[in-house]
């Protein structure tokens, strides 16, 4: 898998995958998980180049998922995709180890700008 998309909303997982393709990353393999717990299971099968995660999810939310990764010394590039972008959330995300926050709604150009430092 090249990108792991983590979101409890199937709608958002589909929208994000569509935007990734429209941003030019048509050949990348995108895997999905519904929450942090499922994502951790998916990662047992391999390390992606990038994780895109929602913030609010049941069972394990995005920030706790990121904390889990960093505590396990997993340095995979990580970006939040969220409709909430307060200064406090942005600060917490970066301090915890996220590389960026992509705000909903987003365009394919927004996705390309966020992903290009990690995917080329």
């Amino acid at each position: 898998m090249d990108i792991l998309v983590v979101d409890d909303s199937r709608t958002m997982r589909i929208i994000l995958q569509r935007a990734i393709k429209q941003a030019g990353y048509r050949t990348l393999e995108v895997a999905e998980a519904e929450n942090g717990c499922q994502a951790i299971e998916k990662l047992r099968g391999g390390q992606p180049k990038l994780i895109l995660s929602d913030w609010n999810m049941p069972e394990m939310n995005g920030i706790d998922f990121l904390r889990h990764l960093r505590a396990a010394n997993n340095k995979v590039p990580f970006g939040f995709v969220t409709s909430e972008t307060s200064a406090e959330m942005r600060s917490l995300a970066m301090e915890t180890g996220a590389s960026f926050l992509l705000t909903k709604p987003f365009t394919p150009d927004d996705v390309q700008e966020a992903l290009s430092p990690f995917l080329g």
């Binding site: 909303s9 199937r10 709608t11 589909i14 609010n56 409709s83 406090e88 909903k104 709604p105």
Partner: protein
């Protein structure tokens, strides 16, 4: 606490979401009233320095149309998980973006979605801050912003002062 959630702000948020995510133009409209018959209402709740709710309501046909646009499929023929999820995500995005304009310590709930023919949603102790109808490709939805009724809050605070209890 008063927040500047002007009609212009709500319109801009909704139009940006529609154009960015599903390539639809949403125009503020003079629609007669809330949808009747089979309809869908999705809501998110905000709590903290500002308390209120944001809901999106439309007829089932229009909700299905929006779900189809989000998922790039034919509109579902009935209310299903896709319609529920799409409408929940729409409320989540509108609520989240309005929350971002507040610049305060406010938390956003997970979305809730109701479908039926004969129901009324009441957010206790709230008043309608804005209710705006939007037209899109032959369909219509209503976005409502509810805020905590400050007069009710003041009444309760006054009673607490008198008897020491909330």
């Amino acid at each position: 606490m008063e927040v500047d959630l002007s009609v212009a702000t709500v319109v801009e948020v909704v139009q940006t979401i529609f154009s960015s995510m599903i390539d639809l133009e949403a125009r503020p409209a003079q629609a007669a009233g809330l949808p009747q018959g089979s309809r869908v209402t999705s809501s998110v709740y905000l709590e903290g320095s500002w308390n209120g709710a944001v809901s999106v309501e439309c007829g089932l046909k229009d909700a299905s149309f929006l779900a189809g646009k989000f998922l790039a499929v034919d509109p579902p023929e009935s209310f299903d998980d896709d319609v529920r999820d799409a409408m929940g995500e729409l409320a989540n995005m509108i609520g989240g973006n309005l929350k971002a304009t507040m610049g305060m310590d406010v938390r956003l709930s997970m979305p809730s979605v109701i479908h039926g023919n004969d129901y009324q949603v009441n957010v206790c102790g709230s008043v309608v801050h804005d209710r705006i109808a939007f037209e899109f490709e032959g369909g219509c939805c209503w976005v409502t912003v509810l805020s905590k009724d400050s007069k009710e809050s003041a009444k309760q605070s006054s009673k607490a002062g008198q008897n020491g209890k909330m």
